[in-house]
C-alpha cells in the first residue's frame, strides 16, 4: 500500500481501489460528489484543520466523519502508521492541550497510540447519506427560491412598482399644477409691483403738487405784504413833506384824553387849551 505524499491530497484524491477489501467490511459504494457544502469546518476535525495552507477539498466537508470513515472502508494503507512511523496518510497525531503547550512533544507512552475512527455501518451510512442528500437538496432549493424572491422584490421596488407609468403621469400632472401655481403667483407679484409703482408715482405727484401749492401760498403772502407796505409808504413822513406834516400836526391838535368809569363808558370831555 503506497502512502500518499500529503494528507490533503489523500482527502482530495479520489478513492483508489485498494489491493483487496478487508474482511468483515462489505464493499462500500463509492461516495459521489453530490454537493458542495460551504459549511464551516468542525474545529475538532484536526485532520481537516491540518490542511491549513492547502485549499479545502470541495467534498467531504459536510459529513466529514462519515465520509472519511467510508473512505477508510476501502482498503488503503489504512492499517495505520506503524509504531514510531510518524503520521500516516490522512492522520496526524494531535497533541492535546491542557497541561502541555503546543510545542511540547507527546509523551513516550503515546508513541504507539493509534487512534482509529469509530466503526461505520455501511448500510446505515448509505441510508443516512441518501437522506442527507435529499434533505440538502430540498434546503438548497428552498434557499435559492427565497433568494430569487427577494431579488425579484428588490427589482420590483427599484422599477417603482407595477404602476410606474401611473406614478410618472401623476408626477407630471403635479408638476404642471405647480407650474400653474407659480405662474399665478408671478401674475400676482407683477400685479403687486405694478400697483406699488403706481402708488409711488401718485405719491410723487402729490408731493410735487403740495409743494407747488405751498410755494404759491408763500408767494402770495409775500405779495400781500409788499402791497401793504406800499400802501403804508404813502403815509410815511419823508424829509420832503416833513415840514408840511409838522405844520399839519400843529394845526390839528389831537386830544387823546378820556375818562372811563367802572362800567366801561368812555367820556371825552376835556378841552385842549
Amino acid at each position: 500500500p503506497a502512502p500518499s505524499p500529503a494528507p490533503s491530497s489523500a482527502l482530495a484524491a479520489p478513492l483508489r481501489p485498494g489491493p483487496a477489501p478487508r474482511p468483515g467490511f462489505p464493499q462500500c459504494p463509492r461516495p459521489r460528489p453530490h454537493y458542495i457544502s460551504h459549511n464551516a469546518q468542525h474545529p475538532s476535525h484536526a485532520a481537516i484543520g491540518r490542511c491549513r495552507g492547502a485549499s479545502l477539498p470541495p467534498r467531504g466537508a459536510g459529513g466529514c466523519a462519515m465520509l472519511r470513515a467510508l473512505r477508510r472502508c476501502c482498503p488503503r494503507a489504512a492499517a495505520g502508521p506503524g509504531p514510531g512511523f510518524g503520521p500516516g496518510p490522512g492522520l496526524w497525531l494531535v497533541p492535546s492541550r491542557g497541561r502541555k503547550s503546543r510545542e511540547d512533544p507527546p509523551a513516550k507512552s503515546k508513541a504507539s497510540r493509534l487512534k482509529l475512527p469509530p466503526p461505520v455501518d455501511p448500510l446505515e451510512l448509505f441510508v443516512v447519506t441518501e437522506r442527507y442528500r435529499q434533505h440538502r437538496l430540498v434546503l438548497s432549493a428552498l434557499r435559492s427560491e427565497f433568494r430569487a424572491e427577494v431579488k425579484r422584490k428588490k427589482q420590483e421596488a427599484l422599477a417603482g412598482g407595477e404602476d410606474a407609468a401611473e406614478h410618472v403621469e401623476e408626477h407630471r400632472l403635479l408638476m404642471a399644477w405647480n407650474d400653474a401655481e407659480n405662474a399665478r403667483q408671478r401674475a400676482r407679484r407683477e400685479e403687486r409691483l405694478r400697483k406699488e409703482e403706481e402708488e409711488r408715482k401718485r405719491q410723487k405727484l402729490e408731493a410735487e403738487e403740495s409743494k407747488a401749492r405751498l410755494m404759491e401760498a408763500f408767494v402770495k403772502e409775500k405779495e400781500k405784504e409788499v402791497l401793504q407796505l406800499q400802501e403804508e409808504a404813502k403815509t410815511f413822513i419823508t424829509p420832503e413833506n416833513l415840514d408840511a406834516r409838522i405844520e399839519e400836526c400843529l394845526d390839528n391838535p389831537r386830544n387823546y384824553n378820556f375818562a372811563i368809569d367802572k362800567e366801561g363808558r368812555i367820556v371825552k370831555r376835556t378841552v385842549l387849551p
Binding site: M175, W177, N178, E181, N182, Q185, R188, R189, R192
Partner: protein, 171 residues
C-alpha cells in the same frame, strides 16, 4: 428646569411627529431661499421656523438647506434623483399654504402611506411573543385569558409542583 429656546415646543417629540409631510423617495434635497426681513417673506420665515423641524424629523434622509438674504423673493427648490428641479414660489404665502402646496406636489399620498403601513405590519405577527424589541408581549402570562404571572399572582396549589409531589408522596 424649563425648556430652552424661543418656542421650545418645536423640540418635543409630540410636535415633531405631528408633521404630515413625508416626501416621495425621489426627493433628495430641499433648498429654502428666504429673507430675514420683509413682509413678503413672513410666510417663508414661519415655515422655516415651525415646519422644517417636522419635515426633517419625518424625512431624515432628505438634505435641507437654508439660504438667507440671497434673493429678493423667497422660494423653495427641490432636487429629485432624476435631476429634475422643482421650483416653488412662496412669496406672499402663509406657512400653512406652503406646507399644503408641497404636500400636494411632492408628498406621499395617504393611500401610499397606508399601503406601506400594511406591508410593514405584514412582516411581524402580533400574536407571537418574545423579546420586547420584536414582539408585543414577552411572556405567555401577559396575554389576556392566560394564566397570570406567578410572580404577581401565586398559582393555585393544585398547579404547583411541590404540592403535586407532596400529594403523590402522601398517596
Amino acid at each position: 428646569m424649563p425648556m430652552k429656546g424661543r418656542f421650545p415646543i418645536r423640540r418635543t417629540l409630540q410636535y415633531l411627529s405631528q408633521g404630515d409631510i413625508i416626501f416621495k423617495s425621489s426627493v433628495k434635497v430641499m433648498t429654502v431661499n428666504y429673507n430675514t426681513a420683509g413682509e413678503l417673506s413672513e410666510g417663508a420665515r414661519k415655515f422655516v421656523f415651525f415646519n422644517i423641524p417636522q419635515i426633517q424629523y419625518k424625512n431624515p434622509w432628505v438634505q435641507i438647506m437654508l439660504f438667507r438674504n440671497m434673493t429678493p423673493s423667497p422660494f423653495l427648490r427641490f432636487y429629485l434623483d432624476s435631476g429634475e428641479q422643482v421650483l416653488v414660489d412662496v412669496e406672499d404665502k402663509t406657512n400653512k399654504e406652503i406646507t399644503e402646496h408641497i404636500k400636494k406636489i411632492l408628498g406621499k399620498s395617504k393611500e401610499t402611506l397606508e399601503k406601506e403601513e400594511k406591508e410593514r405590519k405584514k412582516l411581524s405577527h402580533p400574536g407571537t411573543f418574545g423579546p420586547k424589541k420584536y414582539h408585543l408581549r414577552e411572556c405567555m402570562c401577559e396575554i389576556e385569558g392566560q394564566v397570570p404571572c406567578p410572580a404577581i399572582v401565586p398559582l393555585p396549589k393544585e398547579m404547583r409542583g411541590k404540592y403535586k409531589t407532596a400529594m403523590k408522596n402522601e398517596a
